[in-house]
Symmetry: C2
Subunit: 337 residues, 2 copies
DNA sequence: AGACATTGTCGAAGCGCTTCACCAGGGGCG
DNA sequence: CGCCCCTGGTGAAGCGCTTCGACAATGTCT
């Protein structure tokens, strides 16, 4: 293993000089810097992470807590995780993966052991158990999602209220009068995950404002759940012509079921999905959708953490503006028969 | 921050004693052990990870390299990643997430910096760039997937040859004579990812052995690709009655397309999927499938790494036996008209 | 009873790095 | 000209832990 001392000897300088070349915390003459950098490259030196963490009291690691749940859309989680990792690398940080299996105490362990110097929480619930611990340990943190009381916390999320409203507006603009929101699994609502409730709130409010008669139904994953939900809605409100779907796992089944019930998309009914663009593009017909900016959410979370490390106060909400892309699944409401 | 020295003072022993209590590397009297353990709990002590890594030259971290690609089935990756993380925790280890964006040199960086003391590689290609580096640095490693030359490496994977054969056998047993394998995206084959080619080989060989006329087509994600693939197969070989599908992303679209072409499942055609049980159960009809034991793959990889750390030679292939579960999507071949 | 293991504890060295305090050598300034 | 203040470099302390060797205090065997 190559150490800093060896690099120093090789370059004919003192260890501290090498350290300062690497960290850039002191001005170094052009000449010595180059000499040192050449030695580093030549010897293939990489600083020892542990030693660095010990001496500097910072580990350059971000801990990422992901949920174990399966009722969330996994690819979105993954996309966020990957965006976090690549952004972190850009700042010279690595990412430690924590699952919620270990329980909320993982927060304490990580903070106390100095394994990471910041935490990103995904899939935040309204009353999340981890948040009191976070406040107590005073660890640097960013949340993806909104808890009930976000005061003093750094939060990043899509503006789901605006998302629900945007979808309702789109359908209203197209002349639809009866609309339905097909949401996430019931367990998600029971858990009081913020995004689902916020979407619903935004949707309801805007639908009411636009004079739409509206309906909301949760929907589990899988064919059974999806077709059951659709047929119950159609039975209850046969004149529903606008659907907003916030449930990627059920999407193909919902479309299939609509087709089977004799409704053509978009001629008879319109569908607006809340999903990643990729999913919208891979459906048939391609879906009008409000996209979930997974990459940006991950990137922003890391950037906020880095600003926080630099002493900035980053607390507050960063709500990303939703954008709706019209594709083939929505169109003017059919004239009443 | 609580240090080991503080614990020692609190318990009235020397720091080394506390260390030995924690590591268990020396015998300690019942009495002192209890006293120390109480102090640890009382003070809420957690060893500093960096200091520990520096002194012991082991970080208790496993690096997990996951691919950035989107043509693999993401939920399976995630399931493996989660299984790895929870198993690692059981051994007192944490998991560092690396994406392939950083390139193969990430392997070198991690090994040299002592950030992790073992690496798990996912999505291994037949001629993987990371493998030479792995051999060169001599880092402890486990691969999920098989490279072309696995000699000296510790590999874990589903036995995909047996998987292909098993699916062919199942269809043959049911009396089907013309079968087709609908595989992963073409890019996966072009990249020479082992699992796709091995499934194909096993399928071909067993189909030939059982006297089946067989066909293979890659298939991209999304509706377009799926329905195109199906209709081309049906056009080319209209009497195909058995389908093996190794492409989760295309699965719902394929089923839809079959229905649309007037083929009932399982009355007219049988479908065997190679996918996680969850996907098979959420389809309609529920799919006969060979499951992908994602959890076990992750678990085994970690266990092998731990054995390796204990000095065992774990090199060689660990191929998990595939199991086929018959559900609603396969049945006896229809008698020829 | 003496020699010899065994057991439980301690002290100190040192892992590789950062960072503080210090110093030498030039300017620029009044 | 003397002063101070930059700039670029060094030395050494110390971060919190592991681990080796030393050493009492026991027990065990002839």
């Amino acid at each position: 293993m190559v150490t800093l001392a060896q690099v120093a000897r090789h370059a004919g300088v003192s260890p501290s000089t090498v350290s300062y070349v690497i960290s850039g915390k002191r001005s170094i003459s052009q000449e010595t810097r180059l000499r040192v950098e050449r030695s580093i490259a030549e010897l293939g030196y990489h600083p020892h992470a542990g030693a660095r963490a010990l001496a500097s009291n910072r580990s350059n690691v971000i801990a990422l807590m992901i949920p174990l749940r399966t009722d969330m859309f996994v690819p979105v989680m993954m996309e966020i995780a990957i965006a976090i990792t690549t952004t972190a690398r850009r700042y010279g940080h690595d990412v430690l993966l924590l699952t919620s299996e270990e329980g909320p105490s993982a927060v304490k362990r990580i903070a106390a052991s100095g394994l990471a110097d910041a935490v990103i929480l995904m899939d935040v619930e309204l009353e999340d158990e981890r948040i009191p611990l976070l406040r107590q340990t005073g660890a640097a943190a960013a949340l993806i999602g909104l808890p009930a009381d976000p005061s003093g916390l750094t939060c990043v999320d899509l503006d789901f209220e605006a998302t629900g409203a945007l979808a309702a507006d789109h359908l209203a603009d197209l002349g639809h009068r009866e609309v339905a929101l097909i949401g996430a699994a019931e367990s998600v609502y029971r858990r009081h995950t913020g995004f689902a409730e916020r979407t619903l709130a935004g949707f309801r409010q805007q639908a009411a404002a636009r004079g739409l008669s509206h309906l909301h139904r949760p929907c589990g994953a899988g064919h059974e759940a999806a077709s059951g939900t659709i047929s119950r809605i159609l039975q209850e409100r046969p004149h529903t012509t606008g659907f907003v779907v916030q449930n990627e796992a059920a999407l193909p089944h919902l479309l299939g079921q609509l087709r089977q019930s004799g409704r053509a998309v978009p001629e008879d009914v319109s569908v607006v999905a809340i999903c990643p663009d990729e999913v919208a593009l891979h459906s048939a017909p391609q879906l009008t959708s409000v996209s979930i900016p997974a990459q940006e959410m991950g990137r922003r979370a890391v950037e906020l953490l880095m600003a926080q490390a630099g002493g900035e106060d980053t607390s507050g909400l960063t709500l990303l503006r939703p954008t709706l892309t019209m594709r083939e699944s929505s169109g003017p409401a059919a004239a009443a028969p």
